[in-house]
């Protein structure tokens, strides 16, 4: 069980690294998907080894997958809109909402 948790932690850390360092907005979205996957591995592992309720973890990670798909759709629509208005999706340049 510890090996699965360690794998999920490593995957999550790599995802955090990607979100912190990527310039490209699509790269940030891809790193977010990595983090969602790490969380899913955690949920399924706990469902198998620790869980009290039958299959609650698997159903929850099913919901996580669905929400991640919805997030990718809306995020990529926003990225396309940014590209249309700013001629680029470099997040260092897109700072009009920073105070």
């Amino acid at each position: 069980m510890l090996q699965y948790l360690a794998l999920a932690a490593i995957l999550f850390a790599i995802g955090v690294f990607g979100v912190l360092t990527r310039r490209n907005a699509i790269g940030i979205l891809m790193s977010l998907e990595l983090m969602f996957n790490a969380v899913n591995i955690n949920l399924v592992t706990f469902n198998k080894y620790v869980g009290g309720d039958v299959l609650a973890g698997q159903i929850f990670s099913l919901f996580v997958i669905v929400i991640a798909a919805a997030e990718a759709v809306v995020g990529l629509a926003i990225v396309l809109l940014l590209y249309r208005n700013w001629r680029g999706i470099d997040v260092d340049r897109i700072n009009v909402m920073k105070w």
Partner: protein
């Protein structure tokens, strides 16, 4: 040291996952990152099968590998000028980010090792998909409906955002 077959598969899969996810976050060409993202998601589906979650593995392949990655590749191609090799894809926070991730990893691994887990030995239900279907229609019917409304809202939101103004 003797490995059982499932352990061997686990180590193979986690090696693929870790290497290809490092490629996802570090490669200069964002299109290659997307290809490695597909490889990572596929291997995570293999991990789900090892953990006895077959239905989840199938939906992972269908939704992530089939739909989300294609969507990502479409978005990359529509914003193609950025996929060229000359553009530096990472910002100046790389060193800080490495320290943050290493700290997070150390803290979480240490807490995993030092926790006494109440390990449950009773096996999961044999007929995985049937149980999930029954639970979705009985105990989890409210979150199921809410998630369908969220999907509808995401659909409409994406259409409203991405159409041309005034069209």
């Amino acid at each position: 040291m003797e490995f059982s077959p499932s352990q061997l598969i686990f180590y193979l899969l986690s090696f693929i996952i870790i290497v290809s996810s490092i490629y996802v976050v570090t490669l200069k060409n964002i299109f290659h990152s997307a290809i490695f993202l597909i490889l990572t998601l596929f291997s995570v589906a293999g991990i789900f099968i090892l953990l006895g979650a077959e239905f989840l593995a199938v939906s992972q392949v269908l939704i992530y590998v089939g739909a989300v990655s294609v969507l990502m590749i479409f978005a990359i191609m529509l914003t193609s000028r950025l996929a060229s090799k000359k553009i530096v894809q990472s910002n100046e926070q790389v060193t800080t980010a490495i320290f943050i991730c290493a700290g997070f990893l150390l803290i979480s691994l240490g807490s995993f090792a030092n926790t006494v887990w109440r390990v449950n030995t009773e096996p999961l239900p044999e007929n995985n998909i049937m149980t999930i279907g029954q639970l979705l229609m009985t105990d989890y019917v409210l979150p199921f409906e809410v998630v369908s409304i969220v999907l509808l809202a995401a659909l409409i939101g994406a259409i409203v955002l991405s159409r041309k103004a005034g069209a």
